[in-house]
Amino acid sequence: MGWYILKRIVQTIPVIVFATLIIYALVFLRPGDPILNLFGDKPVSEATRATIEAQYNLDKPFIVQWLLFLKGALTFDFGTSFSGQPVIDQIQRAFPVSVTLALMAVAFEAVLAIIIGTYAGIRRGGWFDGISLVVSLLIVAVPIFVIGFLFQIFIGIKADIDWLPPTVGGDWTITDLIMPAIVLGLTSLAFAMRLTRGSVSENLAADHVRTARAKGLSEGKVVRNHVLRNSLIPVVTFLGADLGTLMAGAIVTEGIFNVPGIGGLAYSAILKGESPTIVSVVTLMVLIYVVMSLLVDILYAWLDPRIRYA
């Protein structure tokens, strides 16, 4: 197992290096002049332009820019944004809120998906199963910004609950994030629910479940000990991967609720063409994905004793 983890970590190195290269190339090829963006409509003197270009290495070929970035990254120096803030500071500010939001969203999603999915799976074809299917399809069909705005209007503004504000802002607290977390969790709730349902109803028909009944276990024990744990393996795998997605890819939800997270940071950096920030943030996202998939694999082995990595 230790050897396997080491191997996986070593494998991430080329992934990261090439990811930064691709991102750098894309930023370089992007139309528009970052310095013009920076000054808006005001004219820029040649001298100022040369100074800024030299400061941010914009005068060098992009492969050199990339190598300089890699060199800096080795010492945790990810450069500075055009507004003069070190990128590492920007990330440090945005990262905790994104992680908290994603964890809350996945927790909400997991609890609801497992409870509803299990019940629907046991009563497959019943009315509960039917209603849960219709509702979950409805949620999937409606775009997230529509759900987000509906929540803002009806819960944030009309109901006007103190601890559920319609927007989050810079000084956020855990309760501020409840509403965005629910909206974010809803996106993949339907899938996790259907996955649980299918897995449960399949496991209910398994031979070893019949054996468990035959030895005299009550129905509740059969479901808890022999159906649920077996059924959760694929669900946990999905939720783990989903956590990675939600951490990095919550741009729309962060935008609606004004959450100062990683998604928003990446978005504004892309608009401004700040390559150090874009590359650092996207690299971090890649890293999150890679680490999450490794964690999921480890979790998988822990849940299922048959799985051994070598």
């Binding site: 031979d207 009944r213 030895k215 005299g216 022999h226 744990r229 048959r306």
Partner: protein, 589 residues
């Protein structure tokens, strides 16, 4: 113990039981009709029947574990005089484990892979109030020991995947008997296991249930096994009990036509009959005659692939070593699957390779077919070294001469292909004939395997297992091969269907002069099809001899063990011989 002790209340009495399933339109589909049987305390009763006969359904109805939409529609199930057919759910749950135990069929799928084996047995003790905590743990070890599992204390702490099939079945026996039930339902308890393991487990189960005075309801498809293990037999066919009575009586004097056919065809019994030996001799003579003509043609023709030799396949020093990842990062271990195997297959005859799982027999088949490269050694087809064949054209020519039939007729046919397309495909791949000619050929092939041409437009799932295997044989014969390699070709089939397919293979051999390499784990079927036998164990050749020699005077201990493990071997034969004209029974196949 003798049955029908007058005045004694039976432990289990099933009266006119009807069980039905509901189809998609919620219409009832009867699975068991009017079944009645009685089990007395300490008695062993066997229900015998093929798949779909309703034998497992009857057993599951007793313990209230009918799958899916199954439900009792009529009749009574009296357990100790009380009707449990319509009992409340909690009353049945109370009976399970403590009064009625179950040993299920497939040990691979009947243990929860996520819990330690000991924990799963402990559950049975706790649920039935036998013991809890430390006492239960100790009892689990005793139970495992009792079930014949060595090193029980350590084994209890292991997961099911660390157990072999036989060990898992022992754990399941320990589980079924954990709360000391009065009745044990054993549903095909050993059909998924190797024959020698099967015998050990059944012997042990017999011994245990005798000692504990537990009555056994044994469900099996194997008449020989049932007769050997049970006092009383119940034969089921299409949901109905067609015959029941003392085991020996049924075997020696079957009344119902279905039972008569079963007694005549069951390989475990047929293998002892002289008639099957005589029949085989006739087949061989006819096949050899045809094969000689073919060999002559091949030898005379310069365009032919082979040289027309007597030994159509010669295998010398065949070895296959698989490299497996070891414990550490860079260490690998070698696993010798086939170790220095040499044999030859005479044109027009059948050589059977017999061995238990893991003996390397299927690996041999794959290497002979050229689907797997040997580590060392040679395979020669009619004088041509298979390894030396280069180029697509020559490879295709080799494939034409050698065709496989695999074990699972459910998996070896593409579910999206019509039967016509499946059989026609090899002809198309080898660009043989025009479309019209290919269709004529497919019709001819279907006729050869005794299938109506109407199946051409149908899909595999619309056919029974036996019909599918006939299709697989037709496909193998499409290219008019000289050698057919049957890898467990009849193992997945019911006994009667098995007998039909063996007859078909024999007929085809006599008619076409085919040579068969017949891979099987079941020594019982060998006598009806093979001329020479190779016994393999752990990748090595243990014994090579003619069929008669193997059956009459086996030289090796292992071969003797395999022979002894054929169920029903010690039972005196019935009066019906395989060659006798039997009344027709309509079969689904």
């Amino acid at each position: 113990m003798n049955a029908a002790s007058a005045g004694q209340t039976p432990l289990l009495e099933i009266r006119d039981l009807d069980v039905a399933f509901r189809d998609e339109k919620k219409k009832p589909v009867p699975a068991v009709r009017g079944a009645s049987l009685t089990v007395y305390e300490g008695q062993t009763v066997a229900i015998v029947g093929e798949s779909g006969s309703g034998k497992s359904t009857t057993a599951h109805a007793v313990i209230g574990l009918l799958p899916g939409t199954g439900h009792v529609t009529g009749g009574q199930i009296l357990f100790e005089g009380k009707d449990i057919a319509d009992a409340r759910k909690q009353d049945i749950v109370a009976l399970r484990g403590s009064s009625i135990g179950l040993v299920p069929q497939d040990p691979m799928s009947n243990l929860n892979p996520l819990w330690k084996v000991g924990h799963q047995i402990k559950e049975a003790l706790v649920a039935n109030g036998v013991a809890t905590g430390k006492a239960a743990d100790a009892r689990v070890v005793e139970l495992l020991e009792e079930a014949g599992l060595p090193d029980a204390e350590r084994r209890a702490q292991q997961f099911p995947h660390e157990f072999s099939g036989g060990m898992r079945q022992r754990a399941l026996i320990a589980m079924g008997l954990a709360a000391r039930p009065k009745l044990l339902i054993a549903d095909e308890p050993t059909s998924a296991l190797d024959v020698t393991v099967q015998k050990q487990i059944l012997d042990h189960l017999d011994h245990l249930t005798d000692e504990l005075g537990v009555a056994v309801l044994l469900i099996t498809h194997d008449l020989g096994l049932a007769a050997e293990r049970a006092d009383h037999l119940v034969v089921m066919y299409k949901g109905q009990i067609v015959e029941s009575g003392p085991a020996l009586e049924i075997l020696q004097d079957p009344h119902h036509p279905y039972t008569q056919r079963l007694v005549a065809s069951a390989p475990s019994l047929a293998s002892q009959r002289l008639s099957s030996v005589e029949h085989r001799v006739e087949v061989r003579e006819a096949a050899l005659e045809h094969a000689e003509e073919i060999a002559q043609e091949v030898a005379d023709s310069s365009a032919a692939f082979g040289q027309g030799r007597d030994d159509i396949i010669e295998v010398k020093g065949l070895t296959k070593v698989f490299t497996l990842p070891g414990k550490g990062p860079f260490n690998k271990t070698d696993f010798v699957a086939v170790d220095d195997l040499s044999f030859s297959l005479r044109r027009g005859t059948t050589t059977a390779i017999v061995g238990e799982s893991g003996s390397g027999k299927s690996t041999v088949a794959r290497m002979v077919l050229g689907l797997l490269e040997p580590t060392s050694g040679t395979v020669t087809f009619d004088g041509v070294d298979v390894a030396g064949i280069r180029g697509k054209a020559d490879r295709l020519r080799l494939r034409r001469q050698m065709q496989p039939v695999f074990q699972n007729p459910y998996a070896s046919l593409d579910p999206l292909f019509t039967i016509y397309r499946s059989i026609e495909e090899p002809l198309r791949v080898h660009s043989i004939g025009t479309e019209k000619e290919r269709e004529a050929k497919v019709r001819d092939l279907l006729d050869k395997v005794s299938l109506p041409t109407s199946v051409m437009r149908r899909f595999p799932h619309e056919l029974s297992g036996g019909q599918r295997q006939r299709v697989a044989i037709a496909r193998a014969l499409a290219l008019e091969p000289e050698v057919v390699i049957c890898d467990e070709a009849v193992s997945a089939l019911d006994v009667l269907v098995q007998a039909q397919i063996l007859t078909l293979l024999n007929d085809l051999q006599a008619e076409l002069g085919l040579s068969y390499l017949f891979i099987t784990h079941d020594l019982a079927v060998v006598r009806q099809i093979a001329d020479d036998v190779l016994v393999m164990q752990n990748g090595r050749l243990v014994e090579a001899a003619s069929v008669d020699q193997v059956f009459s005077s086996p030289e090796q201990e292992y071969t003797r063990a395999l022979l002894e493990a054929i169920p029903g071997g010690s039972i005196p034969l019935g009066v019906v011989e395989a060659g006798d004209v039997l009344p027709e029974v309509t079969l689904d196949d």
